[in-house]
Symmetry: D3
Subunit: 245 residues, 6 copies
Amino acid sequence: MNEPIIRQHRQPNQIRPITITPNYLPHAEGSVLIECGNTRVICTASVEENVPGFLRGQGLGWVTAEYGMLPRSTGSRMRREAAAGKQSGRTQEIQRLIGRSLRAVVDRSKLGERQILIDCDVITADGGTRTASITGAFVALQLAINGLIKQGLIAENPITEQVAAVSVGVVNGVALLDLDYPEDSGCDSDVNVVMTASGKIVEVQGTAEGATFSIDELNTLLKLAEHGIKELLDHQQHALQSQAA
Amino acid sequence: MNEPIIRQHRQPNQIRPITITPNYLPHAEGSVLIECGNTRVICTASVEENVPGFLRGQGLGWVTAEYGMLPRSTGSRMRREAAAGKQSGRTQEIQRLIGRSLRAVVDRSKLGERQILIDCDVITADGGTRTASITGAFVALQLAINGLIKQGLIAENPITEQVAAVSVGVVNGVALLDLDYPEDSGCDSDVNVVMTASGKIVEVQGTAEGATFSIDELNTLLKLAEHGIKELLDHQQHALQSQAA
Amino acid sequence: MNEPIIRQHRQPNQIRPITITPNYLPHAEGSVLIECGNTRVICTASVEENVPGFLRGQGLGWVTAEYGMLPRSTGSRMRREAAAGKQSGRTQEIQRLIGRSLRAVVDRSKLGERQILIDCDVITADGGTRTASITGAFVALQLAINGLIKQGLIAENPITEQVAAVSVGVVNGVALLDLDYPEDSGCDSDVNVVMTASGKIVEVQGTAEGATFSIDELNTLLKLAEHGIKELLDHQQHALQSQAA
Amino acid sequence: MNEPIIRQHRQPNQIRPITITPNYLPHAEGSVLIECGNTRVICTASVEENVPGFLRGQGLGWVTAEYGMLPRSTGSRMRREAAAGKQSGRTQEIQRLIGRSLRAVVDRSKLGERQILIDCDVITADGGTRTASITGAFVALQLAINGLIKQGLIAENPITEQVAAVSVGVVNGVALLDLDYPEDSGCDSDVNVVMTASGKIVEVQGTAEGATFSIDELNTLLKLAEHGIKELLDHQQHALQSQAA
Amino acid sequence: MNEPIIRQHRQPNQIRPITITPNYLPHAEGSVLIECGNTRVICTASVEENVPGFLRGQGLGWVTAEYGMLPRSTGSRMRREAAAGKQSGRTQEIQRLIGRSLRAVVDRSKLGERQILIDCDVITADGGTRTASITGAFVALQLAINGLIKQGLIAENPITEQVAAVSVGVVNGVALLDLDYPEDSGCDSDVNVVMTASGKIVEVQGTAEGATFSIDELNTLLKLAEHGIKELLDHQQHALQSQAA
Amino acid sequence: MNEPIIRQHRQPNQIRPITITPNYLPHAEGSVLIECGNTRVICTASVEENVPGFLRGQGLGWVTAEYGMLPRSTGSRMRREAAAGKQSGRTQEIQRLIGRSLRAVVDRSKLGERQILIDCDVITADGGTRTASITGAFVALQLAINGLIKQGLIAENPITEQVAAVSVGVVNGVALLDLDYPEDSGCDSDVNVVMTASGKIVEVQGTAEGATFSIDELNTLLKLAEHGIKELLDHQQHALQSQAA
């Protein structure tokens, strides 16, 4: 952390190479492998024909998410949460964020009384696993919903618009888009932005444990995020269109 | 949720009545009862002369937080987390937020190898418990540190500046400061802002499960939050000065 | 513990100053803050319109209790049970005692098939938290039942008589009423007595890990307890009458 | 429970047939099978050459206890606590009682810095399992200590006197000694008494969920208990003497 | 482990002395105490008039098993699983094996929609606790089923044939039947065989953590097991016939 | 299950197409993706420079394994074990089997006092996940050990010979090699065989919940397994040689 981190192979406003492989797993109603640089996440969407108790009888659907990391997705092995007997605070924070982000673009009355469970499992981690999870999970969710429409189970697409996410942060005084792990660790401030195709914010989570930031600096970072998210939305589109024919 | 919520006894840019009672508990090194309208939280700061394993031998201190709610702090009784055998995702999310917010204004090298444990326990909840916790916990932390200075255990105040927090949100199209529980539940979007005395953002967490918001709208909310936080910082000052003589 | 403990500001047969603040919390059907010297406990009674499975269909109600301590209610911070993932043996022992004590004065057939959940949360602890909990919980229970009667949900008061509790013990050979924490720690023997307004024993729990006691000594302690409980019953009466008008 | 329970094959002041089989298990340092009527409990004492952290370096020993029931010790199968993932409140209450009862007759400075772990496992339950556990555990403890003395590990017997336990209660208005399960279930009030050979009380736990009792009635029950405990002490003596030769 | 282990009081193809005491516990529908040398296990069969959710409405019964060890069944005290809060991997492996072994000889359609829960609790352990559990559990199961037939609850015996189990292994190059604990610990390879009266294998689990074995060696061990199991089947017969009159 | 299962695209003695991709993950000391037909498992080997407490100071290494399945590796979504708060009995059984299988071919004195943790995470499941895990984990283990040798941390290869695993079973009376999920579910009997390059058995686990099998039938199945394992050993060789240059 002592050496100043200087991004060498990307421009500050450039996202990492993205690959979204749709229908990556054979069993799930929707699934993708999303790769953002060296971060790789498998996202699946599973349809269940029931809703949690608190929603029963209201004609509304539900979307919720779980998140996990393979023990050796990281540089040193992490303890397996199933063996530890509980999910960490970080895991819970992330899976709640994914769930809220997707529900923001779903018209739950059009989904009917069914639940879509999103699973995001990190295969390798190099920063930005929560934002990659949201970006990939949106595609898995749309694929699962396409299946429901094809089967005639739902009449109309309940998804109101696309949603994607990216991190932005200030590293050594420079505003950077789409932080990788060394950048994130050496970061002064770090903001995760979840945004829709129409440029509306769904979630913004800015943390400045290292160095606080002004409202102006936040606006600079949000613009950078908006720029990156546009590209991510294109990648989502391409992945979905490749399956549509 | 059907009736439009119209704030009646406060201006949209007005915070609720605040009372901060310092040294509320006899045993803790620092403690306050903070009351924001009908939300009441006991915040304590406990000093321990050791640090977590990952920090040992580095000459750095640590500040961390735990959060809880009395089962009957809410309108219908919540299950006691100790009986359930685990803390909910929401609890973990909140206590991580409190910890990060306070660490952002602490120079951990001046604290020495000791740990300050913050406990925020909600006695009654009427919205804004996490922001009230941060605002109150700052005072408890400063009181505990004052004690360490008085005892000659630390030479210099490790606190770099004051920090406080407030929620802002759009309800029925109107931007409101310091949401109470009915407003929060009926809210289109909800942003928690943690800010320092110098107007720098420590954390911003905006959620728009109901209705997304634009960057411009976020800026309006941030300005409103800044205004409210100034008042909260004054209340912190008064509480601390009342103990200083 | 080496210095002999001599009670200085109270007579051996004198209880600590008592304050019972009824309706302390806005949401609970019944609630009090009880203060016995420096011991402060929030007691609430929550009404639920169902009973545990083993009682269903029998026309009988149920009363049960949970107990907790704020982490910094004590001189050195206790680990939060919700974080530890389980309630200690001591906690379970105490909450079972509170539940039994209250059920002893409730005619469960008059309560109907509903459950009253008692929560006792210790804000500051200076000895006698379990007996203060019982004394305070009785008032919270009666307040909740008064509400049920006022709403016409139950026809007749199911409470058969008042119940309160106090500790007694031998310290340095002297029988003392209502032990505070230093007395309790330095105690040869320690008896908790739960007694009704008619002078009947509901629970007696005597422990002599330090020094065993004879049947005669037990009788001396029971007389002392009876004397203290009479005063506690008066305090309960006053608190209830203040709400009755 | 509707039929009045009338004790038929025993006098009200008569304990059930007792058998104590010493050295029942081959591996434990001390062990007994105690049978009180149809209640059968295996009690073992295991010596460990260390003490819990809070006692280290003080030259004091420790005695603690655990309690369990075989799933089919009871009329209908109980859930296995190991499968449930936690010990019930009742189990914890009982094992804490057993531990305190034994520590009351051990001079821990003579035991040296070692720990004796008592295990009481109920094979069949017909009332009075906690009192049978204490009565049996005392013999297992003495056997383990005899072994330590024989090996020269401790110089002097740390046991100050014998201890045993019995239940007494009022059933249909009649004071009965040593309640079996039907009596205990039909009981108006129920008192467990732990007493030493010199007639001193170690623990008294009286519960009157059904019908409260006066101080006079308690004294009647204590006398009955004292009478039963004398017999139990004799059985302990015989069991120990049979191994002494 | 350094001294070669030489079996002294038994022939290599000789099982340990077996005693099966039927109806050992008063409450269970079926129960035995099985003693194989110094290994003693209480096996019970409890009948429940329901089946797990996944079987409901299919007209099929279920047989499942749980396994436990008393803390002091072993040379040094094992931690109580109920206190540890979970069953070890070994425990789960064994109880799954017992369940599968018994289900293999039960025609579940003849059992009707009811469940038989087997509990195997080890009182003293000297090797072979899982095979003794299976051998004993079969008798407990048959006793419980006999009761169901006697009550007219099932028409036909659902048990298709007897099943028993034994361990075999190579110790210092010699194939041994029915290993005790020292033999098992010093063992090159260890095979548990579950076999029916008609000589069919139900389960074979061979482990060679120490020294691998060839297919020929496995066959030698299987023959040895077959020989031992015949004797165990006789013991089961005698135990059952003693109860049949 | 009603339709007879007839293997169509493979001979009964033919394994599924195998692909082993070495160094599949960037961070682990050793890793592979193993694909056996539609079963895909990521196996990693992580080196830690310490051993579990029970091995400290003996100069011996340790190899242990953990196993998990992605929630949507299966046809219907499985509950995430981290969310459930515990690993199932099946998971524990499998990870113990993987650990024993690998330790059988490791000379732990040559490994030194270090531990290799194997993680096997199933991405998609179509039968044989435990045997694929063992076959893949062996390669990951060898890759990690090659790294230790290259770094000069160990002098000599501690692996004594290759080990691989396959399942065999009788389906509709036909002995089949390498069962896929429909075959496994419709199976009369199912045997997992772990075998070394020299043809020695490390583990054999045969289960006949459906239909028991004779010793002769077991021998037929073992021969079939031996045949399949030879091919698996070749695949392991090729994967390792591709990395050796």
